[in-house]
Amino acid sequence: MSETTQPLVVAHDLAKTFDVSAPWLNRVLEGQPRQWLHAVDGVSFEIQRGQTLALVGESGCGKSTVARLLVGLYAPSRGGLSFDGQDAHAAYQSKDAKAMRKRIQMIFQDPYASLNPRWTVEAIIGEPLQEHGLIQGAAQLQARVAELLQSVGLSALDMPKYPHQFSGGQRQRISIARALATAPEFLVCDEPTSALDVSVQAQVLNIMKDLQRERGLTYLFISHNLAVVRHVSDQVGVMYLGRLVELADTHSLFSNPQHPYTRMLLDAIPKMHDTGRARTPVQGEVPNPLNPPSGCSFHPRCPLVTERCKTERPAWRELKGIHIACHVAS
């Protein structure tokens, strides 16, 4: 069957533009122009069933906007997203939206903000079950919630408790249980461990890997922590100012990074067992996305910059099995 090789998620030239113009009156009276922020500007990738794609990049590079596009919280301004061969955004608009949402779920960064403090754990995890009509009656609900709690290492006795009675790591496990309630195939995880301490982060990452193995889940994993990304992902995409600059399988990206920005990010990671070694600090900062540099948007910080980089935007091309947007890499 050809279906086994067909990717579960295909994003093609996905873009999202936000209108950040001054209010109408200011535009009319002061002659201010309309302004557009290109948060995501033509991002393409594929994720195979049961695999993990990680997106990394600095704040403001558009990682979270991609996540929101995938779960249908934003409609794309351009490009398309197909899920299991189906146009996901058409589905989000139609009466099939519920069926699509059931298959794609999201885990958010802050487990303190993403759980309703006035609901019990049973109500939090039970809501998607009831909303999608997956259970009948209170007894069935309790049994299913208990099962979900056990799958993330919590106990059925936790059902009547409230979120404040749990630690950060336990709360994040409650949000994972909630995301798993509808038995989704695809989970979008937006910085799921960034708010957690390292020992707790290890617990959550281990659970996520176990669940992936047991249920064949597909993940989009967003993080700014490259060490975490290396640990969980099969493929890594590096984003800069709304565009992908490099997309490669995890091993080649970390052992042989091609894009100068990827190399810079890797050099910036503190090395633990190399005490006292100074890092090579990355020069400069991310430019204002409202007014991105011409040509390759990374050129003002790039050590290998050429004249061509300043004028011509590099195309997204395939190079020795990886994807890259750079004039210089060869």
Partner: protein, 321 residues
């Protein structure tokens, strides 16, 4: 002689349900020019230790016993007024979020000049010149123009540079930096760390660097103290603590960090969570989570004792040296 000596520091919070001990017998010292890292998970008492030293404990928190000495002089019993002269002049502070440590309504120049004039007898013109030099030293381009800008006109990394300039304004000998790079991207983090390091070496200032990021500690510090549930679990030279930790908590913590150089399928996890202040177990506070626990750990609390090259509060290391 050490610049800062903290001896058996105990910080308590009286509450309706009895008194909570947030710090319980913390002792360490910092030599001039030394960078001491303080690392631990949320709630271990890292920031509280920093706050106690700079005299900014939030009431009802109070120092119940122990002492803090700067240049051999006790500073833990000073009045707020006396402490205000030490803070800024002798101890500088850098906090996590640069946006909340700067006043949004004043230009950064005005804030730095104000700090300089509050502590040093210089004219406004001199103070302004100094402020420009400080901004240059912290790597802000076009400092002479930027000095009249407001905090919102700076990016996150630049703002943190302003905060560092502010902390250095009156040339303090000790800087308490509480998570100075946590709110920054990894690329900017490296810039700030190397700045902090070079500026302290040049000026011979001692630094207490509080962070939960072992990577930052590894590249920056001379010594490191690992905190757990309000106590120091292990303290020693940084390469020793990272490569050959003696305390089971330190080794667990090190193994939980995803490493760029290893291909482990699963990360080591320390099951459970740090106890709450009102439910600290008897004996060693780490005993319910410890893989090497034995009877004595549940009954008697270990103090810091010499271990392989470090000091660890653990019964396992007793007699092992």
């Amino acid at each position: 002689m050490s610049l800062l000596q903290v001896d058996n520091l105990v910080v308590e919070f009286p509450s309706r349900h009895g008194t909570l001990r947030a710090l319980d017998g913390i002792s360490f010292d910092i030599a001039p020019g030394e960078i001491l890292g303080v690392v631990g998970e949320s709630g271990a008492g890292k920031s509280l230790t920093g706050a106690a030293i700079i005299g900014l404990l939030e009431p009802p928190g109070r120092i119940a016993s122990g002492s803090i000495r700067l240049h051999g002089q006790r500073i833990d019993q000073l009045s707020n007024d006396q402490m205000r002269h030490i803070r800024g002049r002798q101890i500088g502070a850098i906090f996590q979020d640069p946006l909340t440590s700067l006043n949004p309504l004043y230009s950064v120049g005005r804030q730095i000049v104000e700090t300089i004039q509050a502590h040093l007898p210089v004219s406004h013109q001199e103070a302004k010149q100094r402020a420009i030099r400080l901004l240059q030293d912290t790597g802000i381009p076009a400092a002479a123009e930027r000095i009249d800008h407001y905090p919102h006109q700076f990016s996150g990394g630049m703002r943190q540079r302003v905060v560092i300039a502010l902390a250095l304004a009156a040339e303090p000998q000790l800087i308490v930096a509480d998570e100075p790079t946590t709110a920054l991207d990894v690329s900017i983090q490296a810039q700030i760390i190397s700045l902090l390091k070079s500026i302290c070496k040049e000026r011979g200032a001692a630094v207490m660097l509080i962070t939960h990021d072992m990577g930052v500690i590894a590249e920056t510090c001379d010594r490191v103290a690992v905190m757990y549930a309000g106590r120091i679990a292990e303290i020693g030279p940084v390469h020793q603590v990272i490569n050959q930790p003696a305390h089971p908590y330190t080794s667990g913590l090190m193994a939980a960090i995803p490493d760029m150089n290893s291909d482990r399928e699963r990360l080591n996890q320390i099951d459970g969570a740090m106890p709450r202040l009102n439910a600290i177990p008897t004996g060693c506070a780490f005993n319910p989570r410890c893989p090497e626990v034995f009877e004595r750990c549940r009954q008697e609390r270990p103090d810091l004792m010499p271990a392989r090259g470090t000091q660890a509060a653990c019964w396992r290391v007793e007699g092992a040296v």
